[in-house]
């Protein structure tokens, strides 16, 4: 029998580990979907700044990926997810969510249409049993391909220039589209997608090409301020962009122990994704019947202390919600937050966040006014401009 030693190294290493670990000067690691993932390489402010002012590279490998293919792959996905997959053309990418029978959110993710009959679904949580159960009655094959794909996210105003310098001309690539590029005897697929709300791309290849890709990119990016970023910097950027993370901003239905933690897409501000006319999808009938009890909102909070985890009060007295993600936004110079509030308070007015600021080992308790504002907090034309401006 083999000696069991897996518990000694419980976290897997991504195909970029040789490079990410060398660059991780702070030895700051966190677990993500079973992989060791860098939280901050060197300096959080510089890393966030590279997203908004230059270019950044983030190791995406731990993101869960499923390969979904077969003559009825599209029909399967239309029944699984709330959006209309028929409207997703080959080479396109769709942000989407899916629900259980009761219309409660299971996860969100991005769906890539690789060919008429082949898709890739990228998401935060693992769902193979649910996907396979959902596949009953459809001519479709599904398997997890997380380990077969090496992926990097290249984000920031100079990202197109970095790619140009690397020899990939992406000037014609529109948001939510992808294209294949030759790379050292293989291929890299580049999609104009990301989690920062900025100009950016995601690069997909096989694990064997991971290190050459990293090296090639950093050689090309030297003149464009390219630097690796960890999850902490990305989290600030995604909050500025108003994006949610499963498990942070809502609890996925299969993991909910408490009934009142279940959330529908409508309650998470994702009702706009639902295509009611496309035919049946799992949870549709429940969603039609449901009356939303919650709303998901963006908040600007007074003061300069991040309001992470703060309880929200109406009139400083009645609990009406909870901040699920917050930060001091370096871009906006404001304290911003994402929050679940009771539906009656979706419009805001007289909302207060109870913030505990740790000051030299003592908490200062503050009631700060929180105003409901439109998301995204931070918006830039760079994100959509095609061709992208050269920086």
């Amino acid at each position: 029998m083999n000696a069991l030693t897996h518990y000694e190294t419980p976290l897997l290493q991504t195909p970029f580990h040789a490079r990410t670990s060398a660059a991780n000067k702070m030895h700051s690691w966190g677990p993500w979907a079973g992989y060791a993932s860098v939280l901050t390489y060197e300096d959080l402010a510089m890393e966030h700044s590279s997203i908004r002012n230059a270019a950044s590279v983030y190791d995406l490998c731990p993101m869960v990926k499923y390969r979904i293919e077969g003559p009825e792959a599209m029909a399967f996905l239309n029944r699984l997810t709330v959006r209309n997959v028929a409207k997703l053309s080959v080479g396109g990418v769709q942000y989407t969510v899916w629900c259980d029978d009761a219309g409660h959110l299971i996860d969100d993710g991005t769906l890539f249409r690789m060919s008429p009959d082949r898709f890739r679904l990228c998401c935060q949580e693992r769902h193979l049993p649910w996907l396979l159960d959902s596949a009953y009655g459809f001519d479709v094959a599904i398997r997890e391909e997380t380990e077969e794909v090496a992926a990097l996210s290249l984000q920031g105003p100079t990202s197109a220039s970095v790619l140009a310098a690397a020899g990939s001309d992406v000037t014609g690539l529109k948001p939510f589209r992808m294209a294949d590029f030759a790379f050292v005897g293989g291929e890299v697929t580049i999609s104009r997608t990301g989690f920062t709300g900025d100009l950016g791309y995601e690069l997909w290849t096989v694990p064997e090409l991971a290190l050459p890709l990293w090296d090639h990119l950093f050689a090309a990016g030297a003149q464009h301020g390219l630097r690796p970023i960890g999850s902490d910097a990305l989290n600030i950027a995604r909050l500025e962009a108003g994006f949610i993370i499963t498990g942070y901003d809502f609890t996925p239905a299969p993991q909910c122990v408490r009934e009142d933690r279940l959330r529908s897409p409508v309650e998470m501000g994702l009702g706009w994704l639902i295509d009611w006319e496309k035919g049946h999808f799992t949870g549709r009938r429940a969603l039609l019947r449901a009356k939303p009890k919650w709303a998901f909102v963006g908040l600007e909070v007074d003061g300069n202390i991040g309001a992470e985890g703060a309880i929200l009060y109406h009139d400083q007295k009645t609990e009406v919600g909870m901040i699920t993600g917050a930060c001091w936004s370096p871009t906006l110079k404001k304290s911003i937050a994402l929050a679940q509030v009771q539906a009656a308070h979706a419009a805001g007015g007289n909302l207060w966040a109870e913030i505990y600021a740790l000051r030299e080992l003592h908490y200062a308790k503050m009631m700060m006014r929180a105003r409901v504002v439109d998301r995204p907090f931070f918006q830039t034309d760079r994100r959509r401009a095609t061709p992208p401006a050269r920086f």
């Binding site: 029909a75 029944r79 699984l80 259980d100 029978d101 649910w130 159960d133 959902s134 009953y136 009655g137 459809f138 035919g279 049946h280 799992t282 949870g283 549709r284 009938r285 429940a286």
Partner: protein, 519 residues
């Protein structure tokens, strides 16, 4: 020629489909009944046996025909007669020391049984009949719901509770004690005679995927005892002309009511438009439209086959797939050149081979693992001994339910041959010379029953009848009120509450639920 339009389509002309059709048509709906084969009768429909012999049904006796259906459909007026309305049972002994149980549910016992056992059986029988009677009203209403504000028929439910409580504190406690116990323990608490215990244990578990020692098996016995014939609780009847005649009487009654009937119209799928049922598509491709579709096929077949994943939530599809449907009973038909002699037993009784409760349990053991028992237990009827018309003069038909049979053995052909041989060995041991009388032998295994009668797994109940699949759990939580998530599509199947037998109860209940919605 334009198709006449209908208010309701009913899929399957079995007892439930017929009952639902009759009730809906009576309420003023125009009903079209679609049957894949020849109408009708579901498990009372017949398969051919041999030249000159009457075709044989799957269900060969009537034990729980719903009195509401019998009266509502006016079966007597349409010619239903009984060859034996209250069949006696003979518990066969291989040495001729038979026991005979006369009257409903073995009210009178003849044979070499101790006085103590006689008294104990009388007491146990009375108690079981009392308990079963308490539960009977539950069969005649949709299952109660657990949800808040579900609109349960509280008065009816309160009456059930009150009736149970009115038995007195000791009996009520005894009901609660016995409710979920097993047949083996209940019998051994009271009785000693192996042959008597064997016959009772056999009856208690007939047609289920349970053996006497299986948890909760007593509940199935109570369910069986809640039936009866012509208002006599616990009676078992043989209709004149056999169960096929009961089926054709129902068909005649339903047609007389004005229901349109189409044979050889196999429904391929339910047509769903705008998230509601709009009709059906036959396997010929023909489309028949109606705003109401009622399926009397098993819920499993309806949800997975006729509706399909595209129109249902993934979780529901998974639950439907996991719905347990294993059949443990095989059906044996013999064409005989003469009357077999079961060592003097009265051929005009129901003959049971089940030497002991242990023997019943042992016959189930190999079946759990996909194998065939060496000594199967069985219920035998010789319809030709009761009346002419079943076989050429002087010749006879033997119809037997053989337990247990594997529903998914490794080699179905081999399993069929092995079970046939084991059954004939058992029969020969109890009726020497029987084998030499055989002109033709047909063994229908659970998978044959599935193929012929469309019952998943060959299970008589269109989904196992056991406590975890009864009442509001039948066929699945959320579907127990006969409605489906697809508006306009209803379930009226033996796989719904209250379950199996040639009863029509589920169909009658479903029609009531449908009309309630229209109010």
């Amino acid at each position: 020629m334009p198709m006449p339009s209908f208010d309701a389509l009913i899929i399957g002309a079995g007892p439930n489909g017929l009952a639902a059709a009759h009730r809906l048509q009576s309420a003023g709906r125009k009903v079209l009944l679609l049957e894949a084969g020849v109408p009708g009768g579901g498990a009372a429909a017949c398969v051919p046996l041999a030249e000159g012999f009457a075709p044989q049904p799957l269900a060969h006796l009537s034990l729980n025909l719903d009195p509401r259906v019998a009266h509502g459909v006016e079966l007597a007026r349409h010619g239903l007669r009984w060859a034996a309305p209250d069949l006696a049972t003979t518990a066969l002994s291989p040495t001729g020391g038979h026991l005979r149980l006369d009257g409903p549910a073995g009210a009178a016992l003849q044979g070499a049984v101790s006085e103590a056992d006689r008294a104990a059986w009388a007491a146990l029988r009375a108690r079981l009949m009392r308990f079963a009677a308490v539960l009977t009203p539950l069969r005649q209403m949709p299952p109660p719901r657990l949800a808040r504000g579900a609109g349960n028929p509280m008065l009816k439910l309160a009456m059930v509770g009150l009736k149970a409580r009115m038995m007195g504190k000791a009996e009520f406690r005894e009901l609660l004690r016995m409710f979920l116990t097993n047949v083996h323990d209940a019998l051994n608490d009271e009785l000693t005679d192996p042959l008597l215990k064997g016959a009772l244990a056999f009856d208690a578990t007939l047609g289920t995927w349970l053996a006497p020692r299986s948890p909760n098996s007593l509940l199935l016995w109570l369910d069986r005892l809640s039936g009866g014939v012509g208002g006599v609780q616990g009676a078992i009847g043989l209709p004149a002309g056999g169960m096929g005649a009961l089926a054709s009487t129902m068909v005649a009654a339903v047609q007389a009511k004005g229901v349109s009937l189409r044979s050889n119209a196999r429904v391929a799928r339910v047509l769903v438009e705008g998230d509601r049922a709009a009709g059906v598509v036959l396997d010929s491709g023909e489309e028949i439209r109606a705003p109401l579709v009622v399926s009397s096929l098993s819920p499993k077949a309806t949800l997975l086959g006729l509706v399909g994943s595209r129109h249902l939530d993934a979780g529901l599809i998974t639950r439907a797939r996991h719905l347990k449907a294993r059949g443990g009973a095989a059906k044996l038909h013999l064409a005989l050149r003469g009357l077999p002699d079961f060592r003097g037993a009265d051929p005009k009784t129901r003959l049971v081979i089940a030497p002991s409760e242990e023997a019943v349990e042992r016959a189930f053991n190999p079946v759990k693992y996909g194998q065939v028992p060496e000594a199967p237990v069985m219920e035998i009827i010789l319809p030709s001994a009761f009346e002419p018309g079943h076989a050429p003069a002087g010749q006879h038909v033997l119809s037997a339910i053989v337990q247990y049979a594997p529903h998914a053995p490794k080699d179905p052909e081999v399993a069929r041959a092995v079970l046939l041989e084991a059954s004939l060995r058992q029969l020969e041991a109890h009726a020497p010379g029987l084998r030499s009388l055989i002109l033709k032998a047909d063994m229908l295994m659970p998978y044959d029953i599935e193929a012929r009668w469309g019952l998943p797994g060959g299970n008589w109940h269109g989904g196992e009848l056991s406590v975890e699949q009864m009442l509001f759990l039948r066929p699945l939580p959320g579907l127990a009120q006969y409605a489906t998530p697809v508006e306009g599509l209803w379930l009226a199947s033996v796989g719904c509450h209250p379950g199996g037998g040639i009863s029509g109860s589920a169909g009658w209940n479903a029609a009531g639920a449908i009309m309630g919605v229209g109010k």
